[in-house]
Amino acid sequence: MTQRPLTARGDSGLREQRPFHARIPAFLYMLLCVLVALFPILWVVMSSFKSNAQILSSAVSLPTAYSFEGYRMALEVSPILRYFFNSVVITMLSTFLNVFLVSLAAYVFARTRFRGKNLLFSILALSMVIPMTALMQPVYQVITSLGLADSLPGLVLVYMALNMPLTLLIMRASFAGVPASLEEAAYIDGAGFMYTYFRVMLPLTKGGLASAAVMAFLNAWNEFTFALVLTKSAAVRTLPLSLSYFTSQFSFNYTALFAAITMAVLPSILIFAVFQEQVSQSLVIGAVKG
């Protein structure tokens, strides 16, 4: 146990020791990527602690004192908490409904046989190749004729649909991965279709459910285009949409502007920090199966 071969460090079978100078280019490239990714966000966060005068006189410098005055002003000028609440409601509802309802179909596609199954799946799979931005106007028309224009339910409905392709792929793959014997055992024990689905199959696909939910959550949380097209009033405005009003709302109050942007960005980063494994996983499933 105390003896470990020197080369087998960590889980790496590929790692090899090379002279320091040979590793410099790779190291520099990694450093550059980290800087490119972090600098814009750090700059905004740093600026949110500076005074207006500091922002204007020295844009790229650390704040001399950390004041939360910007955050107070931002919350005063713009009902960010209201938009935040709207975003939370829309995102939670659309994520839950999307994962719940699309999983039903994914199960049927993965585990049952019926005539026309492959044809129906290919038709639903069309949703993966249709560029939704091209359908802006008719989606607006459909939502309006359903009486859901400028309302939270209208956005929930569209966000559920936008995430349908990915959830369908992820959940079909997860259901397909459950051993058939478990399902058969349930039926032999006399369990019905519903019982088998909710009590046996669904609990066995927790990983898939988490991946699908995280992606649906992030996509709905970040969506801008349809929020812009489908809503008008401030009462139903989402957080990403509210960002487009920041510049005029915070005219010349740059501290508050940067504080507002920081508040809008943080939730996504926190969610990602917690669920980054699921995010990468569902990206890969979506790419490989898509």
Partner: protein
Amino acid sequence: MQRRQAGWIALFLLPAVALFLTIYAIPLGITLYTSLFDYRLFPNRMVYVGLANFAQLFARDAQFHRALVNNLVWILLHTTLHIAIGAVLALILYKKPRGWKAVRVIYMIPSIISNAAVAMIFANIYNPSYGVINSLLKSVGLAGMQRNWLYDPATSFVSVTMIWTLFSGYNTTLILSQALSLDSSVLEAARVDGASRLQQDFLIVMPLVKHMLATTMIMAATYMLQMFDLIYLTTRGGPGVTTTNLPLMLYKTAMTENNYGYANAIGVVIIALGVLFMTLINKLLRTRED
């Protein structure tokens, strides 16, 4: 059992099918159909015009020509330069240098925060009075090179392009996941045969992840084909039409001019381009082994 299940199967499929019809199929039908009409709201009219909308777009509409060219250039850059930036990082990270996991996660951050937030951040980075770029130029004595990066017609296109080109985290994650799943004995053999590091990367690893590369290219092409929020929130397609693309023109035509038939003709062009790119990239890079 089959017969007893039929009802459940139908019930389980119903929500997904209904969602597909409402948000995908019906809007797609409306787009295709109304693209053949002179269909507007003010004054309210709907007259069949055959392919006149398309004739107008391709033969006479200078704004469309510019939007199309911009869109195609952006797609070309996004499927090449943007992916190359991410692929190089993946080629470095799959050898698991120290800190590779952290670099992968950090580089993903700009890709998971909302585009609305990214747009606002870059609007500030490019800001002429307190933005990062002008401040840095001034501090190194190049104040003469300062300009209004987003609103100067000479720099607007490049400035907007830079907002999305450097953030290639999705591609890194996808290509890396594929590279990590490769059989390490292949690389071992190459190393024994005396292949240099670069030879291993480009002659062995790259061909083996070709399939994933094709997938990222399709994703990049369809993403850029539909790019809306990052442009809308920074330049609104201006100054003039220098940063307009097809979705932006569609939005303006539909939502501000209420010229629905013409807007949906642009939608049809977007859908056709999407299909075209998918087939083209598949033909070029995907082999039919699976």
